[in-house]
């Protein structure tokens, strides 16, 4: 694993900083080791530290009123946690939990905001990184709002039924995502929605279509 300075210089937020600027920022960072299943952020609670993942994986998720968990993203090395709550001073919109042992580098939101005044270059990089996230979210909203993904996933399932006669390949969620032009997490959510709608059942490695006509109807929504 990279050392602290090397790691921080590899984070897009801090790209383009001089060695002196980088040293000043790095001095504010602390290392945090986390165990598998350790929770770093709770939905609805304030978050005061911006974390960057140096190793391991963190799942970012929301929990429904019924207690159902929906993973929104997996944050891998190089990714960050808690920007929203840090920059808008509101509660965290999601929870974050380590799914492997993790090493994080954290900086307090207050320290970071102070440094933005000293090094406006960082503010520019952060705006760029946040804009990129907004762009991805817009694309997600478009897909979800118009139900395009669910419709596409329904079509993919209907086209890949193994007992339909032709020999069909078995598909991973990643492959379905590539076919539907979306993210793997969105396919997972779509499959859950289709299961909740009662048109299919997921039994370990089998997706069992229980209502073919209902699935066909959902496949036609555009």
């Amino acid at each position: 694993m990279m050392d602290k300075i090397d790691f921080i210089s590899s984070v897009p937020y801090f790209s383009g900083l001089t060695k002196t600027e980088l040293d000043a920022i790095a001095a504010l960072f602390f290392e945090k080791n986390g165990k598998k299943n350790e929770v770093f952020t709770l939905e609805g609670e304030p978050a005061e530290t911006l974390y960057f993942v140096a190793s391991g994986v963190i799942k970012v998720f929301k929990t429904s009123a019924e207690g159902k968990e929906q993973i929104l993203s997996l944050v891998r090395p190089g990714g960050s946690l808690n920007e929203i709550a840090i920059f808008d001073d509101g509660p965290s919109p999601t929870s974050a939990e380590a799914i492997t042992p993790v090493v994080l580098y954290g900086i307090s939101g207050a320290d970071l905001i102070l440094k933005l005044q000293t090094y406006p270059k960082i503010a520019k990089s952060i705006i760029k990184a946040l804009a990129s996230q907004v762009r991805q979210l817009m694309s997600l909203i478009e897909d979800l709002a118009f139900k395009r993904v669910i419709s596409r996933v329904a079509n993919i399932l209907l086209e890949h039924v193994v007992n339909g006669g032709d020999k069909q390949p078995r598909l991973t969620q990643q492959e379905m995502a590539a076919m539907a032009g979306t993210a793997r997490e969105v396919v997972g959510r779509s499959l859950k929605t289709l299961e909740d709608n009662g048109v299919l059942r997921i039994d370990r490695h089998r997706i069992i279509i229980t209502n073919k006509e209902g699935l066909k109807e959902l496949a036609q929504i555009s």
Binding site: L74, V162, Q173, R204
Partner: protein, 66 residues
């Protein structure tokens, strides 16, 4: 058919994340690559596939009509 994730050894970079996320302890590192060590007990959570940055792991679904 054996119901365990498929690992393409030539794509595995040996990061070990799949071992860490597997709650069934079905995967281990052997000679710096991930291997499936049991043929039963996988709950098909697909987290190993989700965390694999090199796309070395596949958890494919069979799609059938009831």
């Amino acid at each position: 058919m054996i119901d365990v994730p498929e690992i393409q050894l030539e794509k595995c970079d040996g990061c070990g994340l799949c071992v860490d996320v597997c709650s069934s302890q079905l995967i281990m590192m052997r000679e710096s690559v991930a291997v499936v060590i049991k043929t039963e007990g996988c709950n098909w959570c697909t987290l190993c596939e989700a965390v694999c940055a090199t796309g070395a792991i596949r958890c494919p679904f069979e799609i059938i009509i009831e």
